[in-house]
Amino acid sequence: MKAKRLDNYGKINRDKILSFRWDKKNYTGFEGDTLASALLANNIGIVGRSFKYHRPRGIFSSGVEESGALVTIGSKDRRDPNVRATTQELYNGLEASGQNAFPNVNFDLGGINNYLGRFFSAGFYYKTFMGIPPFEWGRGTAIWMFFEKFIRKAAGMGSASVLPDPDSYEHAHDFCDLIVVGSGPSGVAAAIEAAEKKLDVILVEQDNLVGGDQLAENDFDNSQIKNQLENLGIKIMTRTTAFGLYDNCVVGLLERVTDHISAPKVNIPRQRFWTIRAKHIIVGAGAIERHIAFNNNDIPGVMTVNASKHYLNRYGVLTGKRIAIATNNDSVYETAQQLSEAGANVTVLDSRTNFEIETNKSFEIRKGCVPYNINGSKKIVSLDISKSENINKSETINCDQVLLSGGWSPAVHLLSHRGVKPKWDYSNACFLPSDSKENITMVGSSRGLWNKNDCIASGIAGTTDALNRLGISKTNYFFPKPGGWKNPIQPLYEVKYKKSRSKSFVDYQHDVTTDDVRLAHREGFISVEHLKRYTTLGMANDQGKMGNIIGLSLMAELLNKEIPEVGTTVFRPPYTPVSIGALSGRNVGKHFRPLRVTPMHQWNIDHGAKMIEVGLYQRPWYYPKENETLSDSCIREASTVRKTVGICDITSLGKIAIQGPDSTEFLNRIYSNSFSKLQVGKARYGIMLRDDGIVMDDGTSWRLAENEYFMTTSTGEAAKVMSWLEELLQTRWTDLNVNVTSVSEQWAGVSVAGPKSREVLNNCVDDSLVVTNNNLPFMGVTSTFLKGNIPCRIARISFSGELAFEVYVKSDFANTMMDLIWENAKKYDGCLYGLEALGALRVEKGHVTAAELDGRVTIDDAGLSKMASTKKSYIGSAMRKRGVLKNNDREILVGFFPTNLKETFNAGTIVCEKNNIKGQGIGRITSVTYSPELGHWIGLGFVKGGLDKWKDTNLVGADPVRNKQMNLKVVSPHMVDPKGERMYA
């Protein structure tokens, strides 16, 4: 190949010289170049090595279908592999390198694979997974396991940076009446027509300029079009790819905001991921020129005809000196003429024998000829040609470039995303889009129109179709007939090589040859979907944009069928690759999910809390003094609660206001225990079951008035319980007069626990009589005022097993409440306690939380049978004793002590019988803590048969993850104060 830049061609800005590095050497290009055009202008032919055989690969195209020039851009944390050089805009300082080669693309040691080709044929990997015959017949895959890392290294395509991505990405949303994909003649005509009919239009173009294929015309000026579109108020989005169509006319776009800029501002995202909700979609995505399979059709210097036209007229690069063009259709002749006018020596080989074409006779046309074999390895030396009638080498012509046009494939990908199957058109030898029932219209060459006037007419017809479907107009319209060439195309997919071991490529990037397709057929992979997966044809970055049709035609020939009978594989989004960064947008690091804090969050931190994430909530974990460790602090806090008093933020609990005349009946139906006789001014602990009889959640409900309750739920299940109550009231029990409202954010809650809690609270309330044992007995509820006239709700509820109160105020008063209670608690040597101490206190008492109520546990399993009323029916009552749930070997809640009290254990430990330590054992430990009260480690968990069965037996705790084992004994889950005397004090 002898490419060079011409002075009088191209639309690049020659006043602006850009320097860039390719494979560690410095080069220059111009503003308006792509990396590919700049490489060609510097006469660089080899830009990569192929996937399996490490064959030298050049630039095949000028667009998104590129399957050869995949390069790595950038370095360190900005290293981006598999970028198409043909769409990467050049910028000053761009750093790029070839892939899949060591030490470089010009001299690659991996090239030896080219000679080991028969070991790398179709299905190579699958066969290796199954054991390499004959060495491993029936003996597994040890050889694969051993060689895997070498094979993967040898057959990779670039490597991504493993460092954190330094760039930011953004999600954006928009709405419009009409979105037009593609700014070629048809798309522009559609957009203008729609804007003139007052539709709100977005025009999307993946290129940096509007114009589509017209950018390859030497006399095309796009500024006029751009002005016209802008004046009509059309939103033009360039450097933006519509990568997928989804339900309800939703379009996914990827906007490349800074990929073409050398030093982007830090506050600008690299890429933007758009979700567009349109009322109608018009797709004018163009068509893609196909290559032709023949021996050595991958040697650098092979290119599509249209690509060379782009390089000449848009970038001013003449891609060869002696150019052979092989074709089966009319589309190449204008390019042939322009190339020869630009100074190349051009010969056209046309497979057709009978046709007429007008040219200026500046180049030779050889009718009835096809390409047969390219001579050369790193560059083209000459081309063997054949008569199309009788395939065999007939002659050799000297050339440094071979341009191919095996026909055009309309880009039906986006329509295919919607499940609309394209139909084969014999006269144009391509798949054409079928009509869509959804509001999607295909226009231009993506519906098989090959001349510009037809494309423009189809754009206007497309908009009329849209207006009709949207009910805005009722106008007749018609689309021009597919086609538009003077002479019909003659199908030509492969020119068969007579010698064995041909390298006739169908899919350049994945090194799939025509022989691979034949092998797949011989081995029985005759469905196109199987063919694709077995050979990996069409599974590379380009997703078969160039090679798929060739593969299909070969399979059709082998099966003695027509192409439409063989069918085509389904295209799925994305049309071109979308980076993971763009998919995640801003939802990374701390912003990965929302963060919830309680109203006293800052107060907790100011008072020394170390925080921990529980679900979405930040909760105080422990409040270390000086050099205390977590364990020191937890032991001190838990002991203080049992000795004097402690204060704990419990705001994260779910809170639901239940109001209305049928509230009591409602609670009676959703809780397993009875609420019918709960008096005003009392609270009750309750358990909710699911329909299937498994425990859903537990919590308390406080009867504030005849028809008003205040419900608390666990932190983790709050949202689920709320939705559940709404579902029941809106779908099942629509006759109940009850209203439920989430008030979780409206109330700030604190637990005041310990023998001195009443004294502390007494000092905090306006009326000291309200918290006496008489006025506020165990499970009593009162609405009263804290000092300073702060309205509050107090219930005497205990999770820790001590005398304890839950106090709630409106969230705005959270800090005032904390200051007030803390000031008074200090007088009694009280403490602030966090989740760790809370956990220790509740495990000591055998109180269950989400760790125990994990969605598999029944009310009986949890040892709470007393909570299941036998006098009424409730949600889950019919199902809680069904089938396996009534087996008597179910795992029942118990407590665990290590037999040797000096030992520790972890949650997750599997409980086994002594000489039978295997599998899932007979139980599991769900929660553990050091018990300050007992002076050793204790655990809660489940064991088959429960306490009754294992009371005096030594069991074993197996912890294979931590490689630990200890002896255990089973005890009652109520490990401290089993009679609950402290609570009632």
Binding site: G419, D691, S723, E726, L729, S873, Y874, A878, M879, R882
Partner: protein, 94 residues
């Protein structure tokens, strides 16, 4: 992306909603037998085509909705509130 036309909020992305389940089940009374409940909870049809299903506008107005949706094309034919009284309100406001 499915777009659901909430009778209260208007047309919104499905990410604002949570899927409920089969909207045609008549849940037995609470004192019904285990057998009846088993049938209601565990035996489901796998419909190809239009089906009635419940969706909760959980990130919106919190209304439970009956949506008539095609399991093949995602086409939505109708959206109504589950609660009959709310249905009436919507009808009257049309």
């Amino acid at each position: 992306m499915i777009r659901i036309n909430c009778p209260y909020c208007g047309e919104r992305d499905h990410s604002e909603f949570s899927y409920g389940g089969d909207a045609t089940i008549n849940y037995p009374s609470l004192d019904a037998s285990e057998k009846e409940w088993t049938r209601a909870i565990f035996f489901r049809k796998n419909i190809k085509g239009f089906q009635f299903e419940t969706w909760h506008h959980s990130n919106g107005c919190r209304m439970w909705l009956v949506v008539e949706r095609s399991t093949v094309t995602h086409e939505i034919k109708s959206v109504k509130p589950c609660h009959p009284d709310l249905q009436k309100v919507v009808e009257n406001n049309k």
